[in-house]
């Protein structure tokens, strides 16, 4: 049930309870008032009957005009009183009727009575009528006492009936109202607790814990919207770590792209320049030799002219792949130096090691067996390699490259499809 409805229900029950109690209180007061009226009336009847019976006894004893008048007066008073009763209960009505009947009987019996003013003995019938009168006096007195005591008891009964009833109703209402209040309070508290749990989870970045265990009320509506909102957030939000990872990956990819030759997938010239300086510096620091191999495809211009650029590109890629595959160590580094020219850096490698690598490289590329019918030297594609190593005579950064280039020149000069290590006396060559 909705909180609003629950509160309306509580309010309407409270209001109607207050109304009902007010009405029952008014009824109770009316009843008590009536009972008090009855009691007052019963007491005045009792008083009147007492006066009447007193005068009647006096009249029977001393029958004369004066006593008769006094009795008549009381009798009339009682008749008037009986004629105007307040609202009486059925029981009191009966008693009042009895008093009225006795009053009539007294009048009737008296009318047949012949009393003797001199007080001499009455004859049998008159004596009996007097006896009957006395019996009537007793009855009317009893009836008036009964009327009075019933009226008195009625007050007490009305009090007990009206107010105990009200107390019980009040008790039931209190139980119902307190019960309902607790119910509503518990409902709201539970809903708010669930909602709070959900909000706390979101504040901790947990977007996959929706608010649960709610009833069909307004707080549940808020929770449903909250859950929907968290759902949207969950779909659209990435964490900082994820973002960092993505950026790093993207950066890495970009860096890779910026340092990779698009055709051969080897490092490009820029990457080589950076690596070259770094390895040179490492070599100096560690005191370990650094070898540089400069590889050039023989008669590549002829190949391109003969087979076309497309095949030329494929051949370049296959040569690059062969070079990369030959390098045994992680630290070895191959790059496309430009056109059909490649460079290979072999850190911590002496000239002998470099020679072996160069030899192997020449063989491997030849063995790929890429046909080159336009070459004047061989029927397959071959490379020439210039090998240089750091040493006392490589003082500047560019010297190692220069030496490798010189050695390459020497290899080309000596007939291609071979490697040549740089010799110091080579510097004298043209």
């Amino acid at each position: 049930m909705r909180v609003k409805t629950q509160f309306y229900l509580l309010a309407s029950i409270t209001t109607s309870s207050i109304l009902a109690l007010s009405v029952s209180m008014v009824i109770a007061f009316i009843s008590v008032d009536r009972a008090l009226d009855q009691n007052a009336y019963a007491n005045s009847i009792l008083k009147s009957v007492s006066a009447l019976t007193h005068e009647l006894r006096y009249l029977i004893k001393y029958p004369n005009a004066q006593t008769k008048n006094r009795w008549r007066k009381e009798q009339k008073k009682l008749t008037i009183l009986i004629a105007k009763p307040p609202k009486l209960t059925a029981r009191l009505k009966i008693l009042l009727m009895g008093i009225e009947q006795r009053n009539s009987s007294i009048v009737a019996l008296y009318s047949h009575l012949e009393l003797r003013p001199d007080g001499s003995d009455l004859n049998a019938i008159n004596a009996h009528l007097v006896d009957k009168l006395y019996a009537q006096i007793e009855t009317i007195r009893d009836d008036s006492f009964q009327l009075s005591s019933f009226a008195n008891a009625e007050i007490q009964q009305v009090f007990t009936r009206q107010f105990s009833g009200m107390l019980i109703v009040l008790l039931i209402l209190a139980v119902v109202l307190i019960g309902m209040s607790i119910y509503i309070y518990q409902g709201i508290r539970n809903s708010l607790y669930q909602l709070n749990k959900g909000v706390s989870a979101v504040s901790k970045g947990l977007l996959n814990q929706p608010v649960k265990g709610l009833k069909n009320d307004e707080i549940a509506e808020i929770a449903h919207r909250f859950n929907a909102m968290v759902g949207v957030l969950d779909q659209t939000t990435v964490s900082r770590d994820q973002l960092k990872m993505v950026v790093e990956e993207e950066t890495r990819q970009l860096k890779l792209l910026s340092e990779t030759d698009a055709l051969t997938k080897l490092a490009n010239r820029r990457a080589f320049d950076n690596r070259y300086l770094a390895e040179l510096s490492n070599s100096k620091r560690n005191g370990l030799p650094l070898c540089l191999l400069m590889v050039d495809i023989d008669h590549f211009k002829l190949y391109n002219d003969g087979y076309g650029h497309k095949k030329g590109d494929i051949a370049l890629s296959r040569v690059a792949q062969a070079i990369a595959e030959i390098l045994p160590r992680e630290t070895d580094f191959a790059a496309r130096y430009g056109g059909e020219e490649f460079v290979v850096l072999l850190p911590a490698t002496d000239i002998e090691g470099a020679r072996i690598m160069a030899e192997r490289m020449c063989n491997s590329i030849r063995l790929i067996n890429i046909p080159h019918l336009y070459s004047p030297d061989a029927k397959v594609l071959t490379v020439s390699i210039g090998v240089a190593v750091t040493g006392e005579n490589t003082t500047t950064e560019s010297e190692l490259i220069q030496h490798a280039d010189d050695a390459l020149y020497q290899a080309k000069h000596n007939g291609r499809n071979q490697y040549q290590a740089y010799r110091h006396d080579q510097g004298d060559l043209p």
């Binding site: 059925a90 029981r91 009505k93 009966i94 008693l95 009727m97 009895g98 009947q101 009539s104 009987s105 009048v107 009737a108 019996l109 047949h112 049998a124 019938i125 009996h128 009528l129 006896d131 009957k132 006395y134 019996a135 009537q136 007793e138 009855t139 009893d142 006492f145 009964q146 005591s149 019933f150 008891a153 009833g165 019980i168 008790l171 039931i172 139980v175 119902v176 019960g179 607790i182 119910y183 518990q186 539970n190």
Partner: protein, 327 residues
């Protein structure tokens, strides 16, 4: 949590409800018989039976209907019934006869139940006109007592009238057929006579001269041994008198149907009746007065007035309705 709250509310409501309706233990109903005089005077007994007040109180009452309070008390005396409904006159004559009985409560009074109905041609207009007439009476009942009062007031010697002893149900025919000039009789026979004869019947104005009360009576032995049952009977009768006071029309209908009487008859007698439970001095006084009158007028062989006080058993009524007891 919700279930607990609902449970609390339900327990609260149940508790309050149980306070509202007092728990009554179911006990087997005690059997009891009442010889009831077949007259509207016995209305509280009939109504208590019709409305189930006896069963509510916890007693199983069977009604043995008889004509007249005399026969009702005879049934009690013979042990045919446990309780009877009889007038003061019957009680008085029974007491004079030495029977050991007790009155438990009077439950109705009427100032006009006994009537003197005469043939119009007998010309009984005043009480004095009763002299030298043939008058039907039911011996040793209120009928005889009532007639003797009228004769006394009229100052007529009993020897100067001819008393014809009749059963109450014979009265209307006896009057109509001219076997008697007048009858001294209780209801419904007064009404039957007037109804039968129409203008040929005349009712003497005697209202208020004799107050008849109808009482619930039993033998002393029974009363001593069955106080609990008697309380229950009186409880039921009290409810019946309350019902008559609160719903007089319905009460009249019940009595009319129960006694198979005409509406006219009920309307004829009902205003004279006053139904209430009581045990008071006037009951004793009334019994004593009637006894004295009976002795004086040789209506009985006895010469002393019994102590009628001893014939009142106020225990049960005091327990049920103390306000109604003033002895």
């Amino acid at each position: 949590m919700n279930k607990i709250i609902i449970a609390i509310i339900m327990v609260g409501v149940a508790l309050a409800t149980s306070l509202l309706f007092t728990y009554e233990e179911t006990i087997p109903l005690k059997p009891l018989s009442i010889a009831v005089s077949r007259t509207p005077l016995s209305a509280p007994v009939y109504i208590a039976e019709e409305k189930g007040y006896f069963e509510d109180a916890g007693i199983l009452v069977t009604l043995d209907e008889v004509v007249g309070g005399y026969r009702s008390f005879q049934a009690v005396k013979k042990g045919q019934s446990n309780l009877g409904t009889s007038s003061c006159s019957v009680m008085m004559f029974t007491g004079m006869g030495g029977d050991d009985y007790v009155i438990l409560s009077s439950f109705v009074q009427s100032d006009n139940d006994l009537k003197l109905v005469s043939r119009s041609d007998a010309e009984i207009i005043r009480m004095e006109d009763l002299a030298n007439k043939k008058i039907g009476v039911v011996k040793t009942t209120a009928s005889e007592y009532f007639l003797s009062i009228l004769l006394g007031i009229a100052n007529i010697d009993r020897q100067s009238v001819q008393l014809i002893e009749l059963k109450p149900e014979e009265m209307p025919d006896a009057l109509a057929e001219g076997r008697v000039d007048a009858i001294s009789v209780w209801e419904p026979y007064g009404f039957y006579s007037v109804q039968k004869m129409g203008k040929n019947a005349r009712v003497l104005e005697t209202k208020n001269l004799h107050t008849l009360s109808f009482n619930l009576a039993t033998t002393r032995d029974y009363a001593d041994q069955h106080q609990a049952e008697l309380e229950l009977v009186l409880k039921a009768l009290y409810r019946a008198t309350e019902f008559i006071a609160e719903s007089p029309e319905e009460a009249r209908t019940i009595i009319r149907n129960r006694l198979n009487k005409q509406q006219d008859f009920i309307d004829w007698i009902w205003p004279d009746y006053l139904f209430k439970l009581a045990l008071n001095h006037s009951l004793v006084l009334s019994l004593e007065n009637q006894a004295r009158w009976a002795i004086d007028n040789q209506l009985t062989d006895k010469q002393t007035i019994p102590m009628f006080h001893n014939n009142i058993d106020k225990r049960a009524l005091t327990a049920v309705l103390p306000e109604a007891v003033s002895l």
